[in-house]
């Protein structure tokens, strides 16, 4: 479906080192080390409750909003540890965007949805630039042709697939380096899913993408690297092709064969 990108460089954008996460007393992640390469799609797979979402929320510090959550270890973005006290989470989240499982556009206009991020980060100087940015972003997610004549309609009036593309547009409008996607297609029908997957392949050229998915086919279609999580640990990580054709670990083999999870 999409062209697999050969791993031509070891260009690491994000790297976690000894990342452990605790929810109150319960530990959810155990010493996770993972490299996320620039301009590739990295898929996180694993059974429910294995810590994929927790891991992803560490990458843009959304775990700060979870009560009782404690993070140890390091998460580096371009070499800088984002868990240092001096890090401004506002700027971090501008650089690391996020798309959620359920489409959650703001109940504002389509235009406002896309324009909100650039506005609060002062990425544009005037209305014309903002208009141009909104148009460019909507075109990039392939939504422009469908909504150009009703930009002021509420974002919630769109269909599920359109809403999710709007959310992706909203996330990439702040010009992030990394886009995190937490099961972006789980609430969508196959056609909408296919569109999102095409979009991901398109976005890969410009952004580093981390995607959580429960669909093995989707992981194979969109990602070039895959990490398999189980019970809060990374069991196996590497090139997608290798993980799905000759997995080293027998748990990985069982999971991708659908034996558990």
């Amino acid at each position: 479906m999409t062209k697999k990108k050969a791993v031509s460089n070891d260009n690491i954008r994000m790297r976690t080192q000894g990342l452990s996460v605790f929810y109150n007393e319960a530990q959810a992640l155990f010493d996770v080390d993972l490299d996320i390469r620039a301009n590739t799609v990295t898929a996180l797979i694993g059974p429910s409750g294995c810590g994929k979402s927790t891991f992803m929320r560490c990458l843009n510090r959304m775990n700060d909003y979870v009560e009782g959550c404690r993070v140890t270890g390091k998460v580096r973005l371009d070499g800088f540890n984002i868990y240092k006290d001096s890090v401004d989470t506002i700027l971090l989240r501008q650089k690391v965007g996020m798309v959620f499982q359920k489409p959650n556009p703001f109940p504002k206009s389509i235009y406002e949805n896309v324009a909100y991020g650039p506005k609060i980060h002062h990425l544009v100087n005037n209305k014309d630039e903002l208009d141009a940015l909104v148009e460019k972003t909507l075109k990039r997610v392939g939504l422009w042709d469908e909504v150009y004549d009703r930009l002021l309609a509420p974002g919630t009036s769109l269909s599920g697939g359109q809403q999710q593309r709007l959310c992706i547009a909203r996330a990439i409008a702040t010009k992030p380096e990394v886009v995190l996607m937490d099961e972006p297609c789980s609430a969508l029908d196959p056609i909408a899913t296919a569109r999102i997957e095409e979009l991901i392949a398109e976005l890969e050229k410009k952004f580093t993408i981390v995607i959580i998915t429960h669909s093995m086919q989707q992981a194979q279609r969109v990602s070039s690297h895959t990490a398999f999580f189980h019970l809060g640990r990374i069991i196996e990580a590497g090139e997608t092709k290798k993980i799905f054709t000759e997995p080293e670990h027998k748990k990985t083999r069982a999971y991708i064969a659908g034996k558990f999870g």
Binding site: Y65, I90, R93, P107, Y116, G117, C167
Partner: protein, 438 residues
């Protein structure tokens, strides 16, 4: 056309019966399974009927209350007026003896009244305020001095009530009317000199000792000032409290404690807030007694917990995913609240606030404690001046056994109810128009 549909319906029913559909109640046999279904359906129907009966009973109570108020109060909107041929004698106008002018005019209408007691009865036919009205009439029209003019003047409350009752064929319960007066009223009515006219004074005057002069304007303005103070104080305070507690405060024993206290405050009897206002606002701070300012501040205390609870509930109704979406875009917690959560919760907040204002609007007890129960004849000019409110006015009038005040009480209740309905309609309108469906 109707026949066509009737026929179609019958055919459909026949077909359904023939098929013995298991979903049709009539086709149940006496098998245990069918018995169970029948029982279940009966239960369902019983519950539905009980609810319906409850609604009917409460509607009947409400309807009888409203009917009673309406029947008592409708006559207050009309008053009897007498067409008096007033002789504006220049000497009397000069010496400002308007009372004599009124008396002379009445004597002119009934020249055969000579007995002193009868004269007194005759003079009390018109409102006791008539001479003031004539004075202002002549000040506006000085060219009438020395002439005789036909002027409509308000009849006294007793005459008015008698005349209205007479019209409604209840002459035997006339009130404080002597037989001579009854005869005069009949005579005036026959001569076309007594008519029922729209009672503008009811909407233009403040309170008065004379029932025919008493109006609701002063208390309505007082209510308006009181509610204004109440909104200005309670809305920002309540909403800010709710936002802080819901969006920013850490959840610990202290915030739990505050929350419990707020919920308890909402259930405190309103008169307690009146006592609080009396001891704090009046005795400690020395704010002006019986003023709209203190009244509004007391009512603000009263509705503050309600506003806090309503606001927290509507903030909670905004799904967390929206907060996460905004936060993941890099919005600060304050931006998340003021750009998103609060905006989306606003229709709910407004509804809650308007409904609690409606509650404050109808509140009487706490205002009695801070002296807003005073007799207010003048229209209040500022929030610092003595004032009373519409429900307190109703309370005051209801203590007065005079028939004229009985109908005024009912009429004031009607005005109060209409204003209440308008406030509630506003709340419904806002909810329907701006509500966000998730």
């Amino acid at each position: 056309m109707t026949k066509f549909f009737q026929r179609r319906t019958r055919i459909a029913m026949d077909r359904a019966k023939k098929k013995k559909s298991p979903f049709l109640y009539k086709s149940y046999s006496s098998k245990p399974k069918h018995k169970r279904i029948r029982k279940r359906k009966a239960q369902e129907r019983r519950f539905k009927n009980m609810g319906f009966i409850a609604i009917v009973i409460s509607s009947l109570f409400l309807a009888s209350l409203l009917w009673n108020v309406f029947m008592t109060g409708k006559s207050a909107f009309m008053e009897a007026q007498i067409l008096l041929p007033v002789k504006f004698d220049s000497a009397l106008v000069e010496s400002e003896d308007y009372r004599d002018i009124v008396h002379n005019s009445l004597m002119g209408l009934f020249p055969d009244v000579v007995k002193r007691s009868n004269k007194r009865a005759l003079f009390s036919m018109v409102s006791r305020n008539t001479h003031n009205e004539l004075q202002s009439y002549i000040e506006e029209n000085p060219q009438f001095i020395g002439t005789t003019q036909d002027v409509w003047v308000a009849a006294s409350s007793a005459v008015s009530v008698f005349y209205k009752r007479h019209l409604y064929e209840q002459a035997e319960r006339g009130g404080k009317i002597v037989p001579a007066e009854a005869a005069w009223i009949t005579e005036l009515a026959r001569a076309g000199r007594m008519e029922l006219k729209f009672n503008a004074m009811f909407f233009k005057n403040g309170d008065s000792r004379e029932a025919e002069q008493a109006g609701i304007l002063a208390s309505t303005i007082g209510s308006f000032f009181t509610i204004l103070v109440c909104i200005v104080m309670a809305f920002p305070l309540g909403v800010a409290t709710a936002i802080y507690l819901e969006e920013f405060a850490k959840k610990n024993w202290f915030t739990d404690f505050i929350e419990i206290n707020i919920n308890n405050l909402a259930a405190v009897p309103s008169i307690i807030f009146g006592l609080l206002g009396l001891s704090i606002y009046l005795n400690l701070f020395g704010l002006p007694r019986s003023s709209a300012l203190v009244g509004g501040m007391v009512l603000a205390l009263l509705i503050l917990p309600v506003i806090v609870i309503a606001t927290r509930n509507s903030l909670r109704a905004v799904p967390p995913s929206i907060r996460y979406a905004a936060a993941a875009l890099g919005a600060t917690p304050t931006q998340v609240v003021f750009h998103h959560t609060l905006i989306y919760a606003l229709p709910g907040i407004m509804t809650g606030v308007i409904l609690s204002i409606a509650r404050a609007f109808g509140e009487t007890a706490p205002l009695l404690m801070i002296g807003m129960v005073a007799f207010i004849a003048d229209i209040p000019k500022t929030i610092l001046g003595p004032a009373t409110t519409l429900p307190v006015q109703v309370y005051l009038w209801s203590n007065n056994p005079e028939l004229g005040f009985v109908e005024k009480t009912a009429a004031a209740i009607m005005v109060l109810l209409v204003l209440m309905i308008l406030i509630n309609l506003l709340a419904i309108y806002i909810r329907k128009k701006y509500e966000i469906k998730w």
